[in-house]
Symmetry: C2
Subunit: 576 residues, 2 copies
C-alpha cells in the first residue's frame, strides 16, 4: 500500500498516513503542487514554520519504464515567493517509490537550536539529531554517510548554502556513482535548511518491487516507449554524444546564446566551451561522455569530466551551467567552469541561478568579465563560507542586482533567466514570463520547436504562434513532470506518433486505469491552474508575468531583436 | 507665474513648462503622486531610466503660514516598489516656492559615467558636471557648497548611501542651521543617485514673495491657525519641550514600545533614552531643546544635542530614531544613539529604516543586542564605505532578513515598521498594512487617538473603530501633505474647532478660491486612490496589505496582544 509520510520538525514527531483519494492519481509535480497548495498558506514566510517541504516520486518512478526515475521537490520558494517544484534524478526517487512512499511531507521548524537528519526505511521514518556533518560540503556528507550507513544508501542533502538559508541553495541527490544531481531551482535547499535538516538517508532494503497492474501491457508499452527515445535524433543521438552542451554551438548559431550578461546573442569563444569541444576533451582525458543520472536512463546525457591528469572534476555538466559561466560571464576555459560546477555541487547552490548571478556580479564590477578564477575564488572564499559578500551572491541574480543597484538583471519573479535569449528565441520568453515557477526553461521548453525543429517549427524571431507553443508545452510538461519522466522524453513525444500513447499506456498498465490523451492534457492544465491560484493568493498578478525592461529597450545582436510582446499578448497565455 | 521645471539627465537638457490645468490645484504629495502616476510606468525598474524624481513644495509653502515649509519628494520607490512620497523640512521648499517652481521633475539617466549637480535660480535650471564632492558625506557637501555658492544656498544632497544606490538612502535637505533634514523613507536617495545627481543647489536671489490673492483674509486665518497650534497641549507644549522623543515614556507605559526587534512592548531602560532625560541632557550641556526645521515653524520640536564637552553632535533627533536604535536594539546610551544619528545624516540613510534594520541585524547575529558602539562601527566602516556587508545593511530591514534568512522581519511592502507595536496599538497596524507607502506611521498617525487622546479616544488594544480611524487619518494626511504643512498640525486640527477652517481659509486666500472641508477630504481620498492605482498597476494586491506573520503568532508583553485582524477586516479600509 502506498502511503504518505509526515514529519513535524516542531515536535520531531512522524506519522504515516493513508493516501487521500484526491491524491491517489497524482505523482511528482502534480502531487507536490497539490499538497503545497492545499496545506501551505500562500502568504507565509518561505523560511518560516508554515512552509512545508514535500518530496514525491513520479507516477512511473520505480517501474522499469525508461527515464522514469525523477523526484519532485515542492514548497513555497524563498527565491521567487511562488509555489515551486523542482525535479532531479539520482537514486532517491526509485528507492522512495519502492518503499511505497507517495509523498514525504516535512512541516514546522525545530524549537531547539540543533540540526537533524531523517532516515527513511521499511520501518517508516525517524528523526535524529546530527552534529558530525553540520557545516560539511555535500561530497563529504555522501562519503561519510556511505561509510556510516552503507554504499547503497539513498541521500538527499544540503550543503553550506542550504544551511545558511541562501535563496539560491539547492537540494542535492546522490546519483548512482555517489556524485550529485540537484533539485536546483528556487532555493528549496534553504527551506530544508530552515527546517534544520542536514540530510535525509534512505534505505530500501526489503522493499518490494513497485506493483504493476497489467505487466504484459506495461512491457509492450515500455518497449515502444524506449524505442521512440532511442530513435529520435535528439534523445537517441545528440544528447548521448554531446550531452546537453550540444546546445552551445546551436544557440550561438541561432544568435540566442546570451553573452556578457545578456548584452549579445553570440559568444566569440563559443568553440572553446561547445559540446563538441567538451566531448573531445572528455574522450581524450578518459572521462565519460555517456552517463545516466538514474538507473534506467537510456539517454545518458550526463557527463563525467576529468582534468588534464585524468582525475575526476565534475559530472552532470550541463549546457545551462556551461552557458552561464561561459558565454554569459565570458569565461572560455572549460576547466575553470568544470571546477566551479563541482564547487557548486559541493556547496549546494543552483548552478543556473549562480551562473546568471555571476553575470550580474560582473556587470556590478564585483569581478571582471572573463575571470573564471575569480568565480572559483568567490565560490570557495565567500559563498561557501557565508561571508557578507557570499550571502549577497548566494541570494542569486536578483539579490546582487538589489545590493549593487544594477538595473540589467535577467530575472522573472526574481529567478534568473537561463541560457536562451528571449529576444531572439521568443517562445521561451513567453515561458519565462508566464511560468508559475519564475523564469524556467524546463517549464515549457520551446527551444524544441523554435530551434531544434522538434514538433514542427515556429520561427524564433517572430511573435506568431509563440504563446500557443509555450502554452501547449507548459501543459504537457506539467503532466510529464508528474510521471517521474525526464523532460527529454518530450523530444520523441513531439515527433514520434507511438511515443505519447506508449507513455500513457504505461501509466494505465501500472495502475490498472484507462487514461486518455485528453485526461493527461487536462491533468497538465489542472496542475498549472492549481499553481497559479497559489501564486495569486500569494500576491502575484499579471504584472509579474513580465520580462525585465531592458529586453524591450536593448536590441540584441546579431538579429537586433527586442522583446516586443505587448502585455495583452502575454496575458493570452492563461486563456485555457 | 508658477512653472514646472524638467531636467532630462539622458541628454542633460532642461525645460521650463507652464503648469497643466489639472495640476494647478495640487501641491506637495498631491502633485508628486499625480506626476509619478501619470508619467512613470508602474512596472519600471525604480533605478532605471523610466523612473522620475519629483520635488514639489506644498500649496502654502513660501507663505507666512506657520509650519508650512515642507517639501515633498516623489518617485517609484526602490525599497518598496510602490509609489512613494516623502516630505521634509529645511530651507529648500520655501526657496523653490518663491522661485515659482510648482514642481521639479528629473527624468532619465546620463549616458556618461559622470556625476552632476543641478542649480536652480531665477534664471531657471542648469546641469553641471561635479567631481569635487563625489564620495563626500552630506555635511562636507553643505560646507563646501556654502563656501562655493554662499551661505544662503539651498541644498538637496545625497551622501555615500545614495551614490551607492542603497535602497535605504535618503535625500538630505539643508536646514536653517546648515544641518540636515531628510526625505527619509523609501530610498529616494538611491533614485537621485541612479540619475547621477550628487546635489541640487538653490539660489532664490531676486525671487518675489509668494503671491497671496486675499492678504487680509490670509492674515486673519493665519493668526487663528497659529493660535491653535500654540494652544494645543501636544503641539504647543509637549513637542516644544521634549521633542518627538516625549513618546518614549508614553509608549513604554502603553506597552507599545517595540523592544529587542519587536519581541517585547516595553524597554527596561526606557528612562535612559526618554524625552525627559534627553531634555535634561540637552539643557545641561547647552544644546537647544527648541529648534525649528524650517523658517516659520512655531512648534520647534527639533533638538540640538551636544556631547559632554558641549560640542554639537546631532539635531533633528527624533523619537523614531531613538526608539529604533534604543529600545529596538536595546541600546541605552543616548550619546551612542546621537552619534549614530549624526552618521546617518552624513551617510544619507534613513534613520528609521536603518534602526529597524539594526534590530534585525542583531537578531541575525551580526552584532549583539545593546551594542551601540557596534552600530557606530558598522555605519562608519561598512555602510559608509559600501562594503558587501554595508550594502546588505544599506538595503534596510528586508535586505538583512533575506541575506541572513531571518523570518522575524518587521516590514510591510519591504519598508521597516516604525516605533509603535501594531499588536498593542492596533490602529497604527491598519495604517502600516494599508498605506500606499509601505509601513509608515506618518501616513495615518493613529497614535494621536489611540494613545494621546487627541481627536477622541479609540482603545488601542481593541479592534473596534481602528479601520475607520486609520482611514480618516490617512485621507486627512494625504490632504495635509499637499499643503506643505508639518504633520503635527493634525493635533490641533483634530481637537480645536477653529484650526482646520483656518487652514482651508489660508489656502482659499492664497489662491482666491473657495474650497470647503469636503473638497479637502475629497482631495485626500483622490490622492490615496491615485497612489493605490499606481501600486495595483505595479503588481500590488490586497495580499501585500498584510503584517508579517509573527505579529499574529507571537503575543507581545505586557498585554500579550497579538495582531488579530482578519484579512477581510483589513481590506475594509479601501471601502471609500
Amino acid at each position: 500500500m502506498e502511503k504518505i509520510i509526515r514529519v513535524n520538525m516542531a515536535d520531531l514527531s512522524t506519522r504515516i498516513e493513508a493516501v487521500p483519494a484526491g491524491w491517489a492519481g497524482l505523482g511528482g509535480r502534480g502531487l507536490t503542487s497539490t499538497i503545497v497548495a492545499a496545506e501551505v498558506p500562500p502568504t507565509c514566510h518561505p523560511l518560516g514554520p508554515s512552509n512545508k517541504l514535500v518530496f514525491a516520486p513520479g507516477l512511473l518512478t520505480g517501474t522499469p519504464a525508461a527515464n522514469s526515475g525523477r523526484l519532485s521537490a515542492g514548497a513555497k520558494s524563498p527565491l521567487t515567493g511562488t509555489i515551486k517544484e523542482s525535479n532531479a534524478g539520482g537514486t532517491a526517487a526509485q528507492m522512495l517509490a519502492r518503499l511505497g512512499i507517495k509523498a514525504l511531507i516535512i512541516e514546522g521548524i525545530p524549537k531547539a537550536d540543533a540540526w537533524y537528519s531523517l532516515h527513511v526505511s521499511m520501518d517508516g521514518v525517524t528523526v535524529q539529531e546530527e552534529t558530525e556533518l553540520v557545516g560539511k560540503g555535500n561530497f563529504a556528507v555522501i562519503e561519510a554517510l556511505e561509510a556510516r550507513l552503507g554504499k547503497k544508501t539513498g541521500i538527499l542533502t544540503i550543503g553550506p548554502a542550504g544551511e545558511l538559508k541562501m535563496t539560491a541553495a539547492n537540494i542535492s541527490v546522490k546519483d548512482p556513482d555517489s556524485k550529485i544531481r540537484s533539485h536546483g531551482r528556487g532555493g528549496l535547499g534553504a527551506v530544508m535548511g530552515s527546517k534544520k535538516i542536514k540530510f535525509i538517508s534512505i534505505n530500501d532494503e526489503g522493499a518490494p518491487k513497485v506493483p504493476i497492474a497489467d505487466p504484459e501491457k506495461f512491457r509492450t508499452a515500455s518497449r515502444a516507449f524506449a524505442k521512440a527515445l532511442l530513435d529520435h535524433p535528439v534523445s537517441g543521438e545528440g544528447l548521448p554524444t554531446y550531452g546537453t552542451n550540444v546546445l552551445v554551438n546551436i544557440l550561438h548559431e541561432a544568435g540566442g546564446l546570451p553573452t556578457k550578461n545578456f548584452t549579445a546573442g553570440q559568444f566569440d569563444s563559443h568553440d572553446k566551451i561547445s559540446g563538441e569541444t567538451l566531448h573531445e576533451t572528455i574522450v581524450a582525458r578518459g572521462g565519460k561522455h555517456k552517463h545516466g543520472c538514474h538507473a534506467g536512463c537510456i539517454i545518458q546525457c550526463s557527463q563525467v569530466y576529468h582534468d588534464k591528469e585524468g582525475k575526476y572534476v565534475t559530472s552532470g555538466f550541463e549546457y545551462e551551467t556551461i552557458w552561464g559561466l561561459g558565454a554569459d560571464c565570458c569565461v572560455d576555459n572549460l576547466d575553470d567552469i568544470a571546477r566551479a560546477d563541482n564547487l557548486m555541487d559541493d556547496i549546494g547552490i543552483d548552478s543556473i541561478e549562480t551562473a546568471v548571478m555571476f553575470g550580474v556580479a560582473m556587470e556590478a564590477g564585483i569581478l571582471p568579465f572573463g575571470d573564471g578564477k575569480g568565480i572559483i575564488r568567490l565560490l570557495e572564499e565567500e559563498i561557501a563560507k557565508g561571508t557578507a559578500l557570499g550571502r549577497i551572491l548566494g541570494g542569486g541574480a536578483g539579490s546582487v542586482g538589489k545590493a549593487y543597484g544594477v538595473t540589467r538583471v535577467p530575472v522573472v519573479k526574481n529567478q534568473g533567466i537561463p541560457a536562451y535569449d528571449p529576444r531572439s528565441v521568443k517562445g521561451i520568453g513567453i515561458t519565462y514570463a508566464t511560468s508559475t515557477m519564475g523564469a524556467d526553461h524546463t517549464a515549457g521548453y520551446t527551444i524544441a520547436t523554435n530551434i531544434l525543429n522538434v514538433g514542427g517549427f515556429v520561427d524564433p524571431l517572430k511573435k506568431d504562434g509563440q504563446v500557443e507553443l509555450s502554452r501547449n508545452l507548459q501543459i504537457a510538461t506539467a503532466a510529464v513532470d508528474s510521471t517521474g519522466m525526464c523532460i527529454f522524453v518530450a523530444f520523441p513525444a513531439l515527433d514520434i506518433p507511438e511515443c505519447l500513447p506508449a507513455l500513457i499506456d504505461m501509466i494505465n498498465a501500472r495502475f490498472g486505469i484507462s487514461l486518455t490523451g485528453d485526461d493527461v492534457t487536462n491533468l497538465g492544465k489542472h496542475i498549472l491552474k492549481v499553481e497559479r491560484q497559489f501564486n495569486i493568493e500569494a500576491g502575484f498578478t499579471k504584472e509579474h508575468d513580465r520580462l525585465p525592461e531592458f529586453f524591450k529597450s536593448e536590441p540584441v545582436a546579431p538579429h537586433n531583436a527586442v522583446w516586443d510582446f505587448t502585455d495583452a499578448e502575454i496575458d493570452e497565455f492563461w486563456n485555457f
